[in-house]
């Protein structure tokens, strides 16, 4: 059986052209990258979690739901962590649970592109869809991002090689600029590679703005920014000669020194560039539906991530209410972890508190988080075993179709699982 135009639920690209072939118990994917294919192979993997467990023992589904609800009900301030590999419908229920219980709700955004969101909140962002980038951009800039590793299909489907409406010759109609401290695989394909000094993006953006305003750069520029004046001049010439600049920014900006201020200054530069040419910027969001959480959380609470309801109304303060910090400070006393493996990725101090407190995990495969959990509920792979809405990295919602059934019948989706927990909490 062949299924066409399936949405891949792995990275922020949310590729919508995957062809999946189910033949003799095997999954054959077409147009999916290495990461995407690995996710599709989960459909037939032998380590899939198919039964709920409490303290490692297989139990009845209703008992597991009741125990999960009791853990959250008994807590004074629970943390509801909605991972990104699920639909926005499930995220909405997770936010409602946090609101009802007076807990904290957060997502991968707080440890990923959270500073980018802060920068955008401060300055506003001139953006467009990634399809417009494909059709219009004749200069593509990758700043602090290596899409070949993080979003492998980015270059072939959206940014460098595809034929666009105004860029009919694909790669030959585009100039590629890569700015990164390391000479990455993406940088190998660049027309201009700018080797920036780690943590010195703001001085470089400021030098570019000074050059744009007609100031001469002095000999100290290279010492401060790590980039020589000739390269900055060449970079600015390429940008100003462009008809449309498509800039993709990555965690190189959001996670290095300066954080949200890096993004703020970049957006200032782009605003000034827009006086001479057209320039739009898109954040290369790493996780599949992380943009979706920001949208849904903003719609439900007014804030994009790290929202605390302990006073009965939503409060937003990244650094105070974000997951890593509340766990490290032991500010929460129970946790519901949905579709993310925090046990493998958070700092040790945060994970230590996950071990100490009651934890419920919803996941599809065994991982460090499930090993730390009191209750493990089998997860459903949204976009394969259940339909749902996913937001691409440019904040465009895509409706994913279901093409196989889950390997169990006690729940139909992660949204259904969370609704059952919510109903039990309300009793």
């Amino acid at each position: 059986m062949i299924y066409e135009d399936i949405i891949c639920p792995v990275c922020g690209m949310a590729c919508d052209d995957i062809r999946v072939e189910l033949k003799e118990g095997k999954v054959i994917t077409h147009n999916a990258c290495l990461m995407g294919d690995a996710k599709f192979q989960e459909l037939t993997s032998d380590h899939r979690i198919i039964a709920p467990t409490i303290d490692g023992d297989v139990v009845d589904w209703k008992d597991a739901i009741k125990r999960s609800a009791d853990i959250l009900k008994d807590a004074r301030r629970p943390l509801i962590y909605m991972g990104s590999e699920t639909s926005i419908e499930a995220m909405k229920v997770g936010i409602d649970i946090a609101d009802y219980l007076g807990g904290i709700v957060d997502n991968n955004a707080s440890m990923c592109h959270g500073p980018t969101v802060l920068g955008i909140q401060q300055r506003g962002v001139p953006s467009c869809t990634i399809g417009q980038m494909k059709n219009r951009a004749d200069t593509v800039v990758f700043w602090g991002t290596n899409p070949l590793e993080s979003h492998p299909c980015h270059e072939s489907k959206r940014s460098i090689f595809p034929m666009g409406f105004f860029r009919k010759r694909g790669r030959n109609d585009r100039k590629i600029i890569v700015a990164d401290p390391r000479f990455t695989n993406t940088a190998k394909q660049a027309d201009l590679y700018v080797k920036i000094k780690p943590g010195y993006d703001i001085p470089l953006f400021s030098a570019m703005r000074a050059m744009l305003r007609g100031h001469e750069l002095n000999e100290f520029t290279e010492e401060v920014t790590g980039v020589d004046v000739e390269t900055i001049k060449k970079l600015m010439d390429m940008l100003l000669d462009s008809e449309f600049i498509g800039a993709f920014i990555g965690l190189g900006l959001a996670s290095s020194r300066g954080k949200d201020k890096n993004v703020y200054i970049l957006l200032e530069l782009i605003a000034e560039l827009n006086a001479y040419t057209k320039c739009a910027v898109i954040a290369n969001r790493g996780h599949c539906n992380v943009a979706g959480f920001n949208q849904v959380c903003t719609w439900r609470t007014g804030f994009p991530y790290a929202v605390d309801f302990s006073r009965g109304y939503g409060r937003y303060n990244p650094g105070e209410f974000s997951t890593t910090d509340v766990l490290a400070r032991k500010d929460v006393d129970a946790m519901l972890l949905c579709c993310a493996d925090l046990g493998a990725h958070l700092p040790r101090k945060s994970v230590e508190h996950m071990v100490d407190m009651p934890l419920t995990t919803i996941d599809v495969a065994p991982c460090p988080s499930t090993m730390l959990s009191d209750v493990v509920l089998p997860g459903v792979i949204d976009s394969m075993e259940n339909e749902g809405t996913f937001y691409r990295l440019d904040n465009i919602p895509l409706r994913a179709r279901k093409f196989v059934d889950p390997p169990f019948d006690f729940t139909t989706s992660n949204e259904d699982t969370l609704k059952q927990i919510f109903e039990e909490i309300k009793k």
Partner: protein, 151 residues
């Protein structure tokens, strides 16, 4: 680039041709016939060396001829056996698909693909279609493709 790849010769139009040799062989010279040009721009799209520019000012005069001429040319177009063999290294591949998108033969004959990403790594679907132009090799950032047997 010292060699001519003759990719422009396999696009839907016989305005460009090699005086001798077959598709997939390197040519010394590529000649053109202006009277047969339908100004579709496919040769310029296919050229990996960016060597051809199509002036579109004459399109208005010849647009009426285009349909009939294109049909005739497409009927007469035939594939010739290639002398190049694509060798892939799936263990190096990230599955980015740059090769499949960059391949001019893939873009011209969409369903009859030469190279594709299958199960997360590069896979040669139809060796017969390969013209040995090397565009996929240029597009691959991890050196997962090589050409063998190119004369």
């Amino acid at each position: 680039m010292s060699q001519l790849w003759n990719l422009c010769g396999c696009v839907p139009g016989d305005a460009l041709f090699m005086p001798k040799g077959e598709f997939g062989e390197f040519a010394d010279i590529i000649k053109h016939r202006l009277d047969a040009c339908i100004f579709c721009g496919a040769c310029a799209n296919a050229c990996p060396n960016d060597a051809i520019k199509v002036r579109r000012t004459a399109i208005a005069d010849t647009i009426e001829k285009k349909g009939a001429l294109e049909k005739k040319i497409l009927q007469e177009l035939e594939f010739s056996p290639t002398k190049a063999i694509l060798k892939t290294y799936p263990e190096r591949c990230h599955g980015c698909g740059n090769c499949a998108v960059a391949c001019p033969v893939n873009s011209l004959y969409g369903e009859n693909m030469t190279i594709e990403v299958e199960n997360g790594s590069v896979c040669v679907i139809n060796q017969e279609n390969c013209r040995g132009c090397g565009t996929c090799i240029d597009a691959c950032p991890v050196d997962a493709i090589e050409l063998e047997g190119v004369k």
